[in-house]
């Protein structure tokens, strides 16, 4: 890659697979599960986190030498809260319906452990450009899982993707419904999100044996 050195590229590619924030680092689970019943909500959430992570990491990296370490948690929370307010206001202005679906979970980006975790682990000790890449990489890793979970839950649960009836109409019995296929409404309920993430972890760790935990 011309733009990025190999070390920098690793900052983005690592969180996408072998150091994924959700399945490996166990960060940011809360919001990942609650809003994934629809693909659209998952994508919006992923984009919001991408924005907050990217900008937040840059800001923290810029002020990392002037924050007294005793109050750094409060400083970090304030920075994230300010960014999340921006996201929330933008969503309310341009996608009001969606902001109703996401309800409190936009606010909960503040306490999303990925953000605090990356601030603590990376932005406080690294320069601006690398922090920015790290933020983007981790947010993408988070977004990928969110979109996978949202995809399967919406497809199997409602037979739609982004609101389009890709599997045909369940009432008029077109598409696959003509062959007696039924939607599994259970996929839309909260517990299935956990089980889908569990299965993603299973698949990922069977492909890469190094990630298996020993008791």
């Amino acid at each position: 890659m011309g733009l990025l050195s190999r070390k920098d590229a690793k900052l983005i590619s690592d969180p996408l697979a072998d150091n994924n924030p959700i399945t490996i680092q166990v960060l940011g689970i809360c919001s990942a599960l609650a809003i994934t019943a629809e693909l659209k909500a998952s994508i919006v959430m992923a984009v919001s986190v991408l924005f907050v992570m990217g900008v937040g990491n840059v800001v923290i990296s810029l002020i990392r030498n002037i924050i007294p370490s005793k109050i750094r948690i409060i400083v970090q929370l304030t920075v994230v809260a300010a960014l999340v307010i921006i996201v929330d206001q933008v969503l309310k202005a341009f996608a009001y319906e969606l902001s109703k679906t996401l309800s409190v979970f936009v606010g909960l980006i503040i306490t999303n452990c990925i953000i605090m975790g990356r601030f603590e682990a990376f932005a406080l000790g690294n320069g601006l450009w690398r922090s920015f890449l790290d933020g983007i990489g981790n947010a993408l890793g988070y977004g990928v899982i969110l979109i996978i979970v949202g995809f399967f839950r919406e497809l199997l649960g409602a037979g739609t993707l982004l609101g389009y009836k890709v599997l045909g109409d369940p009432i008029e019995k077109t598409g696959v419904y003509a062959f007696g296929y039924e939607n599994n409404g259970f996929m839309l309920l909260a517990p299935m999100a956990l089980i889908v993430v569990g299965i993603i972890i299973w698949v990922q760790r069977s492909r890469n044996k190094a990630l298996i935990e020993d008791e």
């Binding site: 689970i29 919001s31 304030t78 306490t111 089980i195 698949v203 760790r205």
Partner: protein, 239 residues
């Protein structure tokens, strides 16, 4: 009655972990041993019981549209609700710090058992989630807000206690390699959440339609009378 209803509703039906997935990070990270899980759970109850009423006051007298009326009529049409995230998280961070200092001073024993968990709690989504849900559900009075804080804390406590106990036992079972640790914990939590969904039936307690259905059922199938008695029992508890 309002209090009892809210109490059971927030523990079982709207359980923080199983219904809204709040506080999952610490739920997964600190549930390896029952003793630490109890410590964190107790700290969460404690902090929720303090922060939810405080944030209720903030919301009522500063943040809501028109809440600044007490300052004078010219402030009556102010709407500061966009500031609520930053206000809530600041309150939580300060309260956690305060609670830590007070507990350290007056109850050193408690401090030694809760101590290490208290700073962690400032960034626990369950705490902020408690305040945000309190705001979005428009809980009407401060004592109900206190009740909501305590009871949703207890719900979280129950959840982490249960998963920690299960994880202690699961060490002795043969779990497929890739699922070991995190994967199986997710799936067990999913199954527990399915179990907790059955408490949702408590919600229909005051519902007239459900009651009417119940009466029809009793008339149709006398052998199911026992089950229905159980249902009516829970109904009367709810009311």
């Amino acid at each position: 009655m309002e209090h009892i209803e809210l109490f059971f509703k927030s523990i079982f039906i709207d359980n923080m972990v199983f219904a809204t997935f709040l506080g999952m990070c610490s739920y997964l990270a600190v549930s390896k041993k029952v003793s630490t899980a109890v410590g964190l759970g107790a700290a969460v109850i404690f902090v929720l019981a303090v922060t939810v009423p405080v944030n209720w006051l903030l919301d009522q007298y500063i943040l809501q549209p028109g809440a600044l009326k007490w300052l004078g009529t010219e402030y009556a049409d102010f709407d500061l609700s966009f500031l609520s995230f930053i206000m809530f998280i600041a309150t939580i961070a300060t309260m956690v710090q305060l609670v830590e200092i007070i507990v350290e001073k007056f109850a050193p024993g408690l401090y030694n058992s809760l101590g290490i968990f208290l700073p962690l709690i400032a960034v626990n989504c369950a705490i902020l989630g408690g305040s945000l849900f309190m705001q979005s559900r428009e809980i009407p009075s401060i004592d109900l807000a206190f009740n909501y804080g305590v009871s949703s804390g207890i719900g979280w406590f129950l959840a982490i206690l249960a998963i920690a106990a299960i994880r202690e036992k699961i060490r002795y079972s043969k779990v497929p390699g890739p699922l070991r640790g995190l994967g199986i914990t997710f799936i067990i939590t999913g199954l527990m959440a399915i179990g907790f969904m059955s408490f949702g039936g408590m919600l229909t307690g005051g519902d007239d339609e459900a009651k009417a259905k119940e009466e029809v059922k009793t008339a149709e199938a006398p052998r199911k009378a026992n089950e229905n008695k159980l249902v009516t029992n829970t109904t009367s508890i709810n009311e």
